[in-house]
């Protein structure tokens, strides 16, 4: 046999033996796996695992590690998808030995019905933020949804679809996990997280107290008539003076069927509550 081949065999055998010895020694003498990592893994199995980043952490495991170290993280930067999932929340509470119940499941709604007319042919960059730079959007109403899909882009569960004809975003409440990423994205601040039990919401965001010439309100926009407040029996509908729009208290989530019926523009939208 060639002397080089022998040399190679001997060297490789020695290297292998050396590595094996190192592993043996490491197993014997080095400390065991970090406790916090184990705890993080335990928390992680109850997280949604989509790595959407809505909590502000790089991913679900990073969030789990923070939660394992400090339970306050759940309060400070809540994972909305977890908070909305009672089942997972209960199991997490059980495994950590604390009571985590009491969260209200929230879903996103859009305060616009998208009926406002398109007044010019916008040909720029196809995002809502860009089109807002050109005379406050291409629709008659400068406060409404433009339907170019900045919100749909960031949705981790594809709950938002775009109605191309009406140019409006539509949120599927079944799929929405309430992470809140779309809320930050909308340039007109049209998206809000409301409790899933909320029986109705307002489909308009017309903030101006006066008409805008050549940009009249859309055909279904709020006309600030306050009939909804007058029709209400208790305090289920209040008037928000700053926005000049009706306001439904999310804390109470009271149904206001009379107001829904009275609204001359039909923009108080009833929701199916399970």
């Amino acid at each position: 046999m060639d002397s080089t081949a022998i040399l190679v065999i001997v060297t490789l055998t020695l290297v292998g033996l050396g590595c094996g010895l190192a592993i043996y020694l490491a197993n014997k003498f080095l400390p065991e796996e970090d406790e916090t990592l184990k705890a993080a893994e335990k928390v992680n199995q109850y997280l949604p695992g989509m790595d959407c980043g809505a909590c502000g952490k790089p991913g679900c495991f990073a969030y789990a590690r923070d939660v394992a170290q400090d339970l306050e993280t759940l309060q400070a930067t809540p994972c909305m998808a977890l908070m909305n999932d009672d089942d997972a929340l209960g199991k997490l509470g059980q495994s950590l030995g604390v009571d985590l119940s009491g969260g209200v499941r929230k879903v996103a709604v859009i305060h616009c019905t998208g009926e406002s007319e398109v007044i010019f042919d916008y040909q720029g960059v196809s995002t809502c933020k860009s089109s807002m730079q050109v005379s406050a959007g291409f629709k008659k109403c400068p406060y409404g949804c433009l339907g170019l899909g900045d919100c749909a882009e960031v949705c981790p569960v594809d709950a938002i679809s775009i109605d191309r004809e009406k140019k409006i975003a539509v949120i599927d409440p079944e799929r929405c996990i309430g992470c809140g990423l779309c809320v930050k994205e909308c340039p007109n601040d049209l998206i809000e997280l409301i409790p899933v039990e909320m029986p109705q919401y307002l489909g308009c965001n017309y903030l101006s107290k006066k008409d805008i010439p050549r940009r009249e309100k859309c055909d279904v926009g709020c006309i600030h008539c306050r009939l909804c407040v007058k029709a209400a029996e208790g305090d289920e509908v209040k008037w928000d003076d700053e926005k000049d729009l009706p306001y439904f208290d999310p804390e109470k989530s009271l149904p206001a069927p009379d107001s829904i019926e009275k609204c001359p523009r039909n923009i108080i939208i009833p929701r199916k509550v399970k």
Binding site: G124, K129, S130, V134, P142, L207
Partner: protein, 447 residues
Amino acid sequence: MKDDTVVKMKLFNNKKSNGVHPTENKLSSHKKIESTGLPKEVTLPLCQHIGAPAQAIVKRGDEVKTGQKIAEACGFVSVPIHSTVSGKVKKITKTVSAVTSRVMEAVVIESDGKDEWVELNKPAHPGTLSKEEIIERIKEAGIVGLGGATFPTHVKLQPPPDKPIDSIIINGCECEPYITSDHRLMLEHGEEILKGLEIMMNVIGCKRAYIAIEDNKPDAVRNMKELLSKDKYPGKITVESLGTQYPLGAEKTLLKRILGREVPVGCLPMEVGVVVQNVGTLKALYDAIYLGKPLVERVVTVTGMVKEPKNLLSRFGRPAKELIDMCGGIVGDADELIFGGPMMGVTQPRFDEPTQRGTNSILVKKSEKVPESNCIRCGACVESCPMNLMPTVYVQFTKNEWYEELEDYWIENCVECGSCAYSCPANIPLVQYIKVGKSELAKLRCK
């Protein structure tokens, strides 16, 4: 060895600023300024300047006269708004500014056709007024920079005491294609411009002034030089004929070309001891002091796809459609209206949008849809940027929503001149991305 270094440094400092050379298309440069008569109705937005919006002081149904103040300035960086016709206040409504894209109040005035003027300030010789009086008159006349940015002029005239101004640059470059309003002003109202400059030099107390004109307007250069030869301040004011390049008329580029000074990031030219003023502003300044008139009208170039491009002297608030009709109407299938030039102008949603103080031109053109393709990292935008920035990086960051990073690449320094978008072979609308990036960055800072 030592001499070598000096030479190198100098070469580096004298590096010409970048830019592009779009087709000039100065269709109306030989047309005299025409006056246009009275509009039937004017819409006056209450924020036609940079700064805080003015506050309305008239009500619906009030009778107003031409030149009467209808809105009061709010704060230091703000100017009052004056009625541009005599008549009745029809309504006070809200409007969307096509320039800033914000909803703001506007006063609509119906003209009675009489054009009765309010009692004006007594015309005065500036020698008889004190500095403070002159500044007060300028502020009350509502004078803003008429080059397009509409920065209140009285602010420029009051530099903080620790920043002495040594030179004034008069901006007659008009580097934007199509626009000729400043060019005509220099030909027809050169004397007024020089008198306005004299007032300004006295108020600021500086010794040097430069009148910067691009060499594609030789008649304006000749006219200004001729007027200066009669001037009683020999040597104080010089006319600089500069090689044509876009965007030479941007104040920071102009300053660098003439004086070789660079304005620090996020600062005004005041920082390096210079004030830059447009020639139209000086004419307005002359009117305010010598004639006592507030700012109610300006020269607007109506150009592009109109039958006969013209320079019109028009009251503010008049619908653009009326001015276009005065030029014989739209030719062909033009469907886009731009206030300003093709490079920096703002597309308007409708043809009857009212003109504002910053509207130096009304450009009618046919819209063309050019599909945006991918950046091939050729660097054409970097090469053409007059501020030596990296526009391609801004697009990347804005697309990926890394708005904080924009600050590290000096996005504030961008003057939105559009040279990058003009030179981009992939048709990427870079300026739009940059505008989005700037506004998102501003939102982040507010938080």
